[in-house]
Amino acid sequence: MNQASYLTALKQTLRGLPADEIADILRDCKRHFMDGAAEGRGEQDIARGLGDPRQMAMELRATVRMAAYEKKSSIGNLMRLLPALAGMLSFNMFMAIPALILPLLLLSAYLLSVASALAGVVIAFSGVSGIDHVAISPQRQFIFQSADERAKAPLAPDWSSVDIGNFRVQLRLPDAPAQAHSVYNVLNLDIGPLARWTDKLRLAYGLALLVLAAGVWRGSNKMGRALLLGLANYLRLNLSLFKNADRR
């Protein structure tokens, strides 16, 4: 492998990192080749000494993403860090599976937070507006009704109905019949047994779910930070410090 092909392979595997980081790494690598050449070493020899460019790139990716996450523990940075660590783990497969379980558990915590937030919004909205069932059905199922019939009887009596584009959105107000009258619904949002709760209770529960969502999100950020610092430490210790360039 010569300098050009080494740098190309390195650059390719680094793709996706911030441009200034890539430029920084490539500059240092070019400098390495020049310093080696100044000693009278050939390009092939220097490249061999550096080892697999893809492996170096994967390790560099992990350090860059780790630094970004340590600087700002956002979920975006976390989601960029996980594949970088996983990529490095592919060179140390024995640790890959248990090491991936922890981030995946963390991901479920984030998903729980999102789900709680969505439920909280829906239930709180229900408490405020009194609407406890939303059915969205495509207009096409109503196609066989005559214009007269459609004008005379709204499909769900005592439901509030609004046509948006090709869809009919039916909203159940309190004391309306339980079932929306549609052949099928594209989307059916029903707070179920919570409909029996008072408006205030629904609002309180919805807000409580939102608070829970926020708490789980922030807790996950902290947990993610701690877990990944521990994981990164472990990886740092087990990286091929004393092994040969040839692996796999």
């Binding site: 020049m34 310093d35 080696g36 740092r236 990286l239």
Partner: protein
Amino acid sequence: MKTQLKKGVLDMCVLCILARRDSYAYEIVQQLADSIDMSEGTIYPLMRRLQNEAWVNSYLIESESGPPRKYYKLGDTGRQQLATMRREWREFSTEVNMIVGEEA
């Protein structure tokens, strides 16, 4: 701690080299390669990690031929870290020698 030492010895060696004077990656690797068998490529992620921890700072020096060279400098936290690592290394090697010495 001990496992950390075993694998983290390379960090300590690099910090030690920088304690004497500022240096650049290629030069650091040459000095290490004299004593330790290691892949040259590992120096770059290693230097990045040392910088992430803020133990080491870097600066660029222009060169007549080719791209500027990145020099590394040991920071204050780096010096403290080196002292801690050296102490732990001494304790570790003393403990090990006590066991190994007894068997002889």
